[in-house]
Amino acid sequence: MRHGLIAVLGLGMLACGEPNEAPRERKLDIRLETHAVLPGQPSAAGLAYLDQVLAAHREADAIAEPLARADRLIAALELPIPERDGAAEIAAIGLAARASEALLEAHADARVIALLGPIVPTERSLVIDRASARCLVALGDAAARSGDHVLAMGSYARALDMLTLLLEEEAES
């Protein structure tokens, strides 16, 4: 009788197991921490930064070749971003978005992942803005083309959340 009970319990536990499928090699990470930029006057350093970013965009407009265009924008990303300046923060993420889209255009997917990985990690709070969503979509696109479906799905899910926040924000404004 005791052996019978053990056998029955064992079968019950087996039945509770996961379906017979290949396990995913990595965990999906869809965390999205965000913050909003409050309206206010930009600082003097912020204004100077915005001027430099604008100049970089103008120069990039004149470059037809996507890799060269991306390089110009990435060079602007090296500029120090003034702290506690929302406009500067949005400008910086806008640079990253455009640079990564240019890299995608050139099929430089590995460079997109290398560029955006440190800019939009799940551990970092992202500013609620279309540029953040564009970065997440670009990261998803690059990951999908590289065959990294875990990173792709995670990035798309985060982009979806960001866009939903923007939609709600738009409705409330």
Partner: protein, 159 residues
């Protein structure tokens, strides 16, 4: 001698059946509780938080969810009515949301046994649908207000 006539409830066969039943119920314990799916799949990813609100399966819970969605949609449509340029912004965001939905579901299609991926695809479809409806209604009402559409003609797609 009276006691000998009482049939013991814990006869071995009944006990065995109870254990089998209990172990079977244990399998569905999490689902029955209405817990949301925690992405990760292997079941030991305790660092992650459940994605979105818990989604119940009972009629009451579904009705509550529907009410919330309708409420949210109404606020989105109302926002568009107050300022026509909002419609443009809403529709642009709606298009972006639906593009992402297509990408997510394309990945999920290749992994039909992965519940996390299927759930994310389903959620993306719901968001796309809600955002599209907001856009269509916003545009329809905006045009109706400016006299752009024929009277009685609905801007909504017929279902």
């Amino acid at each position: 001698m009276i006691g000998s006539k009482i049939r013991p409830w814990f006869r071995p066969s009944i006990l065995l059946a109870t254990i089998v039943l209990a172990s079977g119920l244990g399998c569905d314990g999490e689902r029955a509780g209405g817990a949301s799916v925690v992405p990760g799949g292997s079941g030991n990813d305790s660092e992650l938080r459940p994605y979105g609100d818990p989604e119940g399966e009972s009629m009451g819970e579904l009705e509550l969810r529907l009410d919330k969605l309708v409420e949210k949609q109404t606020s989105l449509v109302a926002a568009g009515e107050s300022d026509p340029s909002k419609c443009e912004a809403l529709c642009e965001l709606s298009r972006a949301i639906c593009e992402i939905k297509t990408k997510m579901c394309s990945i999920a299609e290749d992994r039909t046994t992965d519940e996390d991926y299927q759930n994310l695809c389903r959620q993306a479809k719901q968001r796309c649908s809600a955002a599209s409806d907001s856009c269509v209604r916003c545009v329809g009402r905006s045009e109706g207000r400016s006299g752009g559409t024929c009277e009685g003609e609905s801007a909504l797609p017929t279902k």
